[in-house]
Symmetry: C2
DNA sequence: GTAGCTGCAAATTCTTTGCAGTTGT
DNA sequence: ACAACTGCAAAGAATTTGCAGCTAC
């Protein structure tokens, strides 16, 4: 079974504090506040085991490296800001998409990603400035 | 400007014949029928320049390597078979998704991916057999 | 005390690039 | 002719893994 190490706690805590899906590199940076010597390999191993125990969930978007967020949200989708690249949860769903598939195709699930300008970026009118 | 080489013609032709989005490795395999010595590096270079001249379009799905299909289709989405991993076009769209975003978020575009069992796989009941 | 964890470095996978030789136009 | 293209091998970027030492239980 899993042990309760400082590293694992720091990884989990970093994701919980963020409130939005984080990249492995962002998790590393945030978790190094608690555990300065933390390595990226440990972050990857921690992320994998936290996903397996159901504490966090992977968020995979087209052309993007997999991010991670706290698990337990119900079915939801994501919004990616075209300006800062940050990803946000969208707790809404068009629903009933099975009818869109070609005849003979059986739909079991779906992923939806919205793209545009997020609240913070819309306010300041920043153009393609990376997230902090 | 671009030159008309056997390699480029073979790459383009492989994608046109497929009728569905192909992985770079699938393009290589299909194009090697025309040009046996074709290298993967040339496939990548050819794909990039064909995208730039608008002949083909990249298809990027969550957790998947970018595939390529012929350009010119109007707005559409994709279906990925959970059994054979192949990707198909879906010429339908739920439309009007801007209302799903949080207040203050501006939606400009969206990506939708359906998952399930494709026609061919549904018929034979194959379980997780890779595409040919 | 010991099995599981950690950091480091090396290995993997996918994609890009440098280079010297080849080929359209 | 000459610039664009090609194959090969090496370089990159993201992720995984082998290993020897560390640590929670």
């Amino acid at each position: 079974m899993e042990r309760n190490t400082r590293q694992r706690a720091a990884i989990r805590s970093a994701i919980e504090r963020a409130g939005r899906p984080l990249l492995p590199a962002e998790v590393l940076q945030a978790a190094q506040v608690d555990v300065p010597g933390l390595s990226l390999a440990t972050v990857y191993r921690g992320l994998k085991s936290l996903v397996e125990e159901g504490a966090i969930a992977p968020v995979s978007l087209p052309s993007e490296v997999t991010r991670y967020e706290v698990a337990g949200h119900h079915h939801h989708h994501h919004f990616q800001c075209l300006s800062c690249d940050r990803v946000y949860d969208v707790h809404a769903c068009p629903g009933d998409l099975g009818r869109l598939a070609p005849p003979g195709f059986q739909v079991e699930s779906h992923d939806l990603t919205l793209y545009g300008r997020c609240g913070p970026c819309g306010e300041v009118g920043a153009s393609k400035s990376r997230a902090s």
